[in-house]
């Protein structure tokens, strides 16, 4: 189950963060997303160690902890997509697929002429679309 998805701008500023937990604990997900930027930074700043994945937008598993996993995706404009899931056996292909859809939704949202680049995404339709993507991820009918 995806508990949180986030879009982080190229200056590491949060653009969109949506938690999918029922509890009122979004702040801890903020923390998880924020800290996972460390891993993205590390990978981006040390291309040597991640040479094979450098040209790929999908960063894979960032953060294997015992209880949740953080996946990352980095666009060419250095916008990061981050997904936190409590599913402990996620297939890379599923995650990749998820991010591709998420990216498409993001592109549509920021193409809105009323959206100010670099500012938080306030579009409700974007939120709805992301929710749909997140739900479809859980159902296993991705692709």
């Amino acid at each position: 189950m995806i508990v949180c998805v986030a879009v982080v701008g190229h200056q590491n500023n949060p653009l969109y963060l949506q938690s999918f937990t029922e509890a009122d604990d979004a702040l801890k997900l903020h923390h998880i997303v924020h800290c996972s930027l460390d891993v993205i930074d590390e990978r981006v700043n040390n291309p040597k160690r991640s040479a094979p994945t450098l040209n790929e937008t999908f960063l894979g598993l960032l953060y294997p902890t015992e209880n949740y996993k953080v996946y990352g995706y980095l666009t060419n404009t250095k916008v990061k997509f981050i997904m936190v899931t409590t599913d402990l056996d996620v297939k890379d292909a599923d995650a990749r697929n998820f991010f591709r859809k998420f990216h498409a939704a993001y592109v549509d949202a920021v193409s809105n002429p009323f959206h100010v680049p670099g500012k938080k995404i306030a579009s409700r339709s974007f939120g709805a679309r992301v929710s749909t993507i997140v739900k479809s991820f859980g159902s296993g009918t991705t692709g």
Partner: protein
């Protein structure tokens, strides 16, 4: 084969180095032992690794053991193969012999016997006892050695070397070492091959029933151990890796139930770095090792090798992965393990790894990357340890002491509770402890944050502990419990739901359930435990799990717990700071700060909190910032750090308004205002860039002309939740191009009240230097507090649609143009105006994109020019401008003429004229006191154009504060209407003169001459009526511009007055005329302008008439020559006739004698007769006489003839009629025949 395991272990532990057997044939060992053993460990050896590649090994440990030693003797051949790794790797045969025969007969057969065993790698050391001084013996030894070499060396391999007991021989030792290493290498190769084959054989049986992991393990580890002995650690490590892989496969394969292990005392302390923790025989069961111990064993072996390879970073990396992975494995077996065994194991494992890797790590030798990686891993280990530690602490009731921060919540609330088979029950006789825990729970209350900020604490538990614990007690049914606590919430009881909702209701219930302790000590079994009881039960169970008494002390009291907690947090933070993961480090700093804060260590807390806040605010994570910032503010408030506290309050206010309730925000504001009005010790300008932002208004920048003041209106956004009064406000403008230039504060003097949101504030701008200006900074005062904002763009309020993105470059708000012409004033006419008459001068006042509103025009007429102030000034639209003026501008009413007064030469321009080109007409009169003079052939005039020039100095003051001045001096040309010239057209015999007066129009206007009257000077008089009118009356006479007209007067000379008087007097010509001209083109009628109307004007001009100078009394006529031509030498008579034309009126010139004089050039003429003399001529008019003078021309050519002069008469009285010739032609003399005598 499993039986051999114990033996294998013993052998392995007893042999740790390569054995080299010494076959002491000649009892020499005691002699050489010392020097031989000095050679081990072998300094450098080249061995082959598993892939048969040469590897250089340093300090290869080896031991010499005599073949007679018990260690080598008592072995069965079967054992020898199995534990081949411990068998000698080389055999040194020590021999000596001093006699060749002895060698042949005894030694050689014996040696042959020894070396015939192919299995062994051997070489012979021949020890020469011969002293170097003893030549005989030396020679003999050489001989024997040569024999030995011949017998035992082969072409392929030399197996002999010679050792002189009495002579140091460096060469020998090199030889010895290389031979020894050769042997070791060969043996090693053979044994590796053997083991590999064995392993392969066993591997092939992998899936058969006879497969036995234990055997495989022994073989594999034997090989690994052999590599390890040979210092081939890499190969050894690889063997262990393969072994681990193989084990994982075999252990996961479905099969019979195996024991997991971990139930022994002390198992809770991880042994992942201690291979000898447990004997392998203890953990073997049915030919398979128990997973718990064996995995740790394998890891320990790997770690040992990695440390030997100086790769502590890899140990840390593998260790972290191992701990995480193993923790999962432990979770699978959790219900069979002691309570919280898993957590305890992870903590000890992490601490063990941290300790050993740190002690093996010397930061110098590794690259920056791996150093960072190492610290990251250390941080991870610390952090993992910390989480588990917190979990345990929470279970035993220290949860109330743990900060409910996002980081703790993220780690704990997603971490499932331990899942023991049954939750520990409360031990008997523990009522005191229960009371204590009860007290702790009751005493704890969430700390009240500053400003009464209340946030629901973040959960530290995946699901409610109370429910989870009771549910896991075997005898309580789930249904009961849910009814008991929360019948509405049935779904939350799913044990796997890691995020089961902690509704506030259930939370509340949970708190109330830990009410006052009941007095009874023994619980009825079916009563659910209270929270305090759960804590006590957990603590007791934990005590049983944990074998290390030191470990348990961490939970003995809050202080101990916090000490340990701090240690772990600090360890994690420090290591993260030294890695790439700065955020992790800073966040943990926040946890440290929270603890400092709790203990009143505010100085340290502030430092850490500041770091955290800086991190969050730099990247815009406002939600997280909003969580920490109030704590920082509180610390600062306690520390009396007013500046910091204010900055924090401002920051709090500038955060997204949805993050705090309006009440909270109001509290922030009132705090700021309170401080601002209080007596602050250190007045520091407060940076409110994020709170008060400003921007120029949308649209093009305000454009000002050089020198103009202006009003700049600036939008100021206030982030304060309420109105805020600013005591003053000023704005700095900075030049667009250079930063240092033109920075000037512009004050908006009056105090402002900023409403929340957008405010528009106008600033008066004094004149600025030309250039573009951008908004610099906004400064001002709230109370006594000065603040400044650079927040031109950042963090503008999101809700306004005019929100500025901070990527937008700052736009100039003010442009001050370079000095340029703002207005142009040109005279409307170029042609001349009438002198001495009232004339209108038109000025075209043309504003150039600039309003002339309120402009004042100063007109300063120069000398000889007078402005008729009695008249009104007329201002009208300039029509010439209307073509290109757009029709939209028609509001300026084309053709409108406004009359305005002129006072002291000043005109105030009407408002309607401020933006359009206007024509200003003002009346002047050019004054020329001199009387115009006419021109006559007798008195030609040179008229300079400058004479009619008059200068007008104009000065226009305009602009808002009349700061703009335009000055110009214009020249206007004035002239008389007519240019008058006279000439005498004809002179009649009776003395009548026809005087023509020619009038030439000087102006571009039609002149109507209505009447002309000539007042003659004395000496002249009119003929006829004598009224001075011209001869013919053709008036009115119309003279077109630039045309001429002539008027004829008939006059005559009169009287014989004094000649001088006649000469000096002037005649006056009075011309009455009218003019019809447009003032736009030039001269015009001085009166009101009405077409067709022409008022009568008078123009007076002086004419000086001269009496006719041609009034001779004598006429001299040159009479023609008598001959046709003159010749040189020929006499010729010059004859002049003198005639008296009139009788002399004056007595002075009367007389009948006239003096004559002939004037001739003596070179040309010879005058015969009298050159001068008196001739008589009667005084009567008409009397004439003739003067004849005979001359001879002397030269030929054209020559001047002699002239007759009358010296007494004066030239004026002589009329030459007919006039004498100017030149005469004189021919050369004719040829004289009289001198030509014919040549006869």
């Amino acid at each position: 084969m499993a039986n051999y395991l114990a033996q294998f272990q013993t052998i392995k532990s007893s042999s740790d180095r390569i054995v080299i057997a010494v076959e002491d044939v000649s009892d020499l060992w005691l002699n050489v032992k010392e020097s031989f053993e000095r050679r081990v460990p072998v300094k450098k050896a080249c061995l082959n690794n598993k892939a048969r590649n040469p590897v250089f090994v340093d300090n290869l440990p080896a031991e010499f053991i005599q073949t007679t030693d018990s260690r080598l003797r008592s072995r069965f051949p079967q054992e020898q193969y199995l534990f081949w790794f411990r068998e000698p790797y080389a055999t040194v045969v020590l021999v000596t012999c001093e006699d060749l025969d002895e060698f042949k007969t005894i030694l050689k057969p014996r040696l042959k016997l020894i070396v015939q065993n192919d299995e062994r790698e051997w070489f012979i050391v021949f020890v020469s006892k011969a002293h170097p001084s003893n030549d005989q013996a030396t020679k003999m030894a050489k001989k024997v050695y040569a024999r030995l070499e011949a017998d035992f060396n082969t072409k392929k391999r030399e197996r002999c070397c010679k050792f002189d007991l009495h002579g140091p021989d460096a060469e020998f030792w090199d030889d010895f070492d290389s031979k020894m290493v050769d042997c070791i290498r060969n043996t090693l190769d053979r044994r590796v091959q053997f083991y590999e084959e064995e392993i392969r054989r066993l591997s092939e049986q992998r899936f058969t029933p006879i497969w036995n992991f234990c055997n495989f393990f022994i073989l594999k580890e034997s090989l690994a151990f052999m590599f390890e002995m040979s210092n081939l650690h890499e190969d050894s490590l690889r063997e262990y890796d393969e072994l681990e892989l193989c084990y994982s496969e075999s252990v996961t394969s479905p099969g019979k139930h195996r024991e997991f292990g971990g139930l022994d005392t002390g198992d809770d302390q991880a042994a992942l770095l201690n291979p000898g923790f447990k004997a392998l025989t203890q953990i073997v069961q049915d030919d398979v090792f128990r997973e718990f111990e064996f995995r740790q064993y394998i890891f320990a072996c790997q770690a040992k090798l990695l440390f030997k390879l100086s790769r502590p970073v890899e140990v840390a990396a593998r260790g972290h992965a191992f701990v995480v992975g193993f923790s999962k494995t432990l979770a699978l077996h959790e219900n069979s393990l002691p309570f919280c065994f898993r957590e305890v194991w992870v903590i000890t494992a992490c601490l063990g790894l941290i300790k050993s890797t740190t002690s093996h790590y010397d930061g110098g030798a590794v690259s920056v990357d791996s150093e960072k990686e190492f610290h990251r891993l250390q941080g991870d280990l610390y952090s993992l340890c910390r989480i588990k530690f917190m979990r345990l602490a929470y279970l035993i009731g220290y949860g109330v002491e743990i900060e409910k921060s996002p980081v703790n919540s993220a780690s704990l609330s997603m971490l499932p509770w331990p899942k023991p088979a049954t939750w520990p029950s409360i031990p008997p006789d523990s009522s005191a402890e229960v009371m204590e825990k009860e007290k702790m729970i009751l005493q704890s209350k969430s700390r009240e944050k500053l400003f009464n900020i209340y946030r629901k604490p973040l959960p530290l538990e995946p699901s409610l502990l109370l429910r989870e614990a009771n549910r896991r007690r075997a005898f309580l049914s789930v249904g009961n419990l849910s009814e008991l606590y929360d019948s509405a919430d049935g779904s939350g009881l799913d044990a796997n739901s890691k995020l089961s909702p902690n509704r506030s209701a259930s939370n509340f219930m949970a708190r109330t359930m830990s009410g006052p302790a009941m007095s009874e000590t023994s619980l009825p079994v079916d009563r659910p435990m209270r929270l305090s009881e759960i804590h006590v039960a957990a603590e007791h169970a934990l005590k049983q799990t944990i074998s290390d008494p030191d470990f348990m002390t961490s939970f003995s009291s809050v202080e101990e717990f916090e000490k340990r907690y701090m240690e772990l947090t600090k360890g994690a933070a420090d290591n993260y700071h030294r890695s790439w993961w700065k955020r992790h480090g800073v966040v943990l700093d926040g946890e440290i700060a929270a603890l400092f804060f709790k203990h009143g260590n505010y100085d340290l807390a502030v430092k850490s909190y500041e770091k955290v806040c800086a991190l969050y605010s730099a990247e815009g994570w406002e939600e997280l910032l909003a969580d920490v910032l109030p704590d920082l503010a509180e610390c600062q408030k306690i520390l009396n750090d007013e500046a910091g506290y204010l900055a924090s309050c401002v920051k709090l206010l500038s955060l997204d308004s949805t993050l705090f309730s309006s009440k909270e925000r109001q509290a922030f504001q009132s705090e700021v205002v309170r401080l601002a009005h209080s007596e602050m010790k250190h007045l520091v300008p407060l940076d409110v860039s994020s709170l008060i932002t400003f921007a120029g208004n949308a649209g093009p920048p305000l454009e000002l002309c050089d020198g103009d003041p202006g009003t700049l209106s600036v939008a100021v956004w206030s982030g304060f939740p309420d109105d805020i009064t600013l005591e003053s406000l000023s704005l700095r403008l900075s030049a667009w191009s250079s930063a240092d230039e033109g920075i000037k504060a512009i004050k908006s003097s009056d105090s402002h009240v900023l409403k929340p949101g957008r405010n528009t504030i106008s600033f008066d701008i004094p004149p600025q230097k030309p250039g573009s200006y951008v908004l610099g900074a906004l400064t001002g005062h709230i109370g006594k507090l000065s603040f400044r904002s650079h927040g031109f763009s950042q963090d503008g309020p999101v809700e306004t649609d005019e929100f500025m993105s901070f990527e937008k470059p700052t736009r100039p708000v003010l442009k001050v143009r370079k000095p340029r012409a703002l207005v142009d004033i040109t005279p409307a006419v170029s042609s001349a105006l009438l002198m001495n008459e009232l004339q209108w001068i038109g000025l075209i006042v043309k504003p150039i994109d600039y309003s002339l509103k309120g402009g004042i025009l100063h007109i300063d007429a120069g000398a000889e020019l007078k402005i008729e102030e009695s008249q009104m000034i007329e201002i009208e639209n300039y029509r010439g401008d209307m073509e290109h003026a757009s029709s939209a501008n028609s509001s300026a009413e084309a053709g409108k003429v406004e009359k305005i007064p002129i006072e002291n030469g000043k005109i105030k321009l009407p408002d309607w004229a401020s933006d359009v080109t206007t024509l200003v007409w003002f009346p002047v009169r050019a004054i020329d006191d001199t009387i115009a003079r006419g021109e006559s052939p007798a008195s030609p005039q040179k008229q300079s154009i400058v004479d009619g020039m008059r200068m007008i100095a104009l000065k226009l003051e305009f602009g808002v504060f009349h700061n703009q001045v335009f000055e110009r001096t214009i020249a206007v040309h004035f002239t008389n209407p007519f240019h008058v010239s006279t000439r005498v057209v004809d002179k009649c015999n009776d003395g009548t003169l026809l005087l023509q007066v020619i009038l030439r129009s000087e102006v571009k206007a039609t002149l109507h001459v209505k009447d002309v009257q000539l007042d003659l000077q004395s000496g002249f008089e009119h003929l006829g009526k004598g009224d001075g009118r011209p001869a013919s009356s053709l008036f009115p006479l119309v003279i077109a511009p630039s045309s001429r007209a002539g008027i004829l007067f008939i006059i005559r000379l009169s009287g014989t007055k004094d000649l001088d008087e006649v000469e000096n007097a002037d005649s006056m010509l009075n011309i009455k005329y009218g003019i019809s001209g447009e003032r736009t083109t030039g001269a015009h009628s001085p009166g009101p302008v009405q077409p067709g109307d022409s008022e009568e004007l008078l123009f007076k001009i002086a004419l000086r008439l001269k009496r006719p100078v041609l009034d001779p009394c004598l006429a001299v006529g040159f009479l023609p020559f008598s001959t046709d031509c003159l010749r040189v030498g020929q006499l010729v008579n010059m004859r002049w006739r003198v005639e008296r034309l009139k009788s002399p009126e004056d007595a002075s010139i009367s007389g009948d004698e006239i003096l004559y004089q002939v004037d001739a050039n003596p070179q040309n003429w010879m005058v015969a007769g009298r050159k001068c003399g008196h001739v008589s001529l009667s005084n009567e008019q008409g009397s004439r006489m003739e003067i004849t003078v005979t001359c001879i021309p002397l030269v030929s050519g054209y020559v001047h003839p002699p002239q007759l002069g009358l010296p007494e008469v004066g030239e004026v009285n002589i009329s030459c009629n007919p006039a004498g010739p100017h030149l005469v032609c004189v021919l050369p003399p004719a040829l004289s025949t009289s001198y030509c005598i014919p040549a006869v």
